[in-house]
Symmetry: C2
Subunit: 207 residues, 2 copies
């Protein structure tokens, strides 16, 4: 059995990576906003794929929460600093609680795989979330998101891009897509299918 | 001192309102997605106004979690039903945990009011979240969101509308705005100011 990526991440030795409080907190904010959407989508569409991203982000969040505690302690030199840091750690802890709750939600998928748990919550008109990768032969490689007119042609919004082990959350139009990028997208099913054709290199442009 | 709306809601007698599991869960999903964004915004912009919405939604979520438990128990007639309902209550509980964590975050604002806690997280280019009400003399009254071309003219997206005690989450373009509606919006500051002028009746159209 292939060990899922989040599981591997879980058993890696935890090592403190020095980063600024600002960077750490910004990533924690981004993860907590994304993970709630992803967790519901995994449940609604019975998607093990999206559930795996949730588990991965949950593990990543634990790591960030650990790092931010260390950073905060090293940064606090007097009572005023320490008070400020206590507030920051409260926000970090709440973010971590949010991601753990999202993780708890998708655990349900581990033992209920044959049918969607909440199929009656999905309406045909609703937007769906999908994970898609960019093939090296796709004409989208090395183009910006706005150049490709993804949102205007398909109605699809890119929530996040996973590039190797790095994440780009809520990417702006100026972000250049690379081969191998994994996109987490939300939008209408039809537009999603059109975008998939582009990313697989089956069509040249969206129109 | 005026008692805030969420506080009033907290002390109202809890009474079970019969609703379908589908309706209850859909509202819980909507609240958990909205409340995380709102909590961070309240902290980032040091906004008591947005924090109050968070507290209100947190109390509302507690009520929904109570209602869904009762509804689930009344609906379960055999083991298969009960197993299904157990899964649904797990999702409901996770949603409630998310909203409590968001509530914990904004509690920080109660004792740190003089300066933003995380001002260094805000960049000028970032989108802001604001709460705006529609004046009765505004030309937006009784128009649909798409008719007003809010998103194309200002770049502002309406996250939710509060209409008296009811909420409309992620409203579609076909939703008709009413006087007294409270809009929770996200977007660039400039577009936000333009929209505010429209909603106050100071300009007639967005352009």
């Amino acid at each position: 059995m292939k060990v899922p990526r989040w599981k591997k991440a879980e058993f890696e030795e935890i090592e403190y990576e020095p980063k600024s409080i600002r960077e750490l907190l910004k990533e924690m904010k981004n993860i907590s906003e994304l993970i709630v959407d992803l967790a519901y989508s995994a449940i609604l569409f019975n998607s093990k794929e999206i559930a795996e991203e949730v588990r991965y982000l949950e593990v990543r969040m634990d790591k960030l929460n650990y790092d931010i505690r260390i950073t905060a302690m090293l940064a606090a030199r007097n009572t005023e600093d320490a008070e400020k840091m206590a507030g920051i750690l409260q926000i970090a802890q709440a973010s971590n609680t949010i991601s753990n709750a999202a993780g708890d939600m998708v655990k349900l998928l581990a033992y209920k795989l044959n049918h969607p748990i909440l199929p009656h919550l999905i309406k045909e008109s609703d937007e769906i979330i999908r994970k898609m990768s960019i093939d090296e032969k796709s004409s989208a490689v090395n183009k910006t998101i706005s150049e490709l007119r993804i949102s205007s042609e398909t109605g699809v919004r890119i929530l996040a891009i996973r590039r190797k082990s790095r994440w780009i959350y809520a990417p702006k139009g100026s972000v250049v897509l690379k081969k191998g990028d994994i996109l987490i997208c939300i939008g209408p099913e039809e537009g999603m299918n059109q975008l998939r054709e582009l990313l697989k290199g089956k069509i040249e442009v969206l129109e």
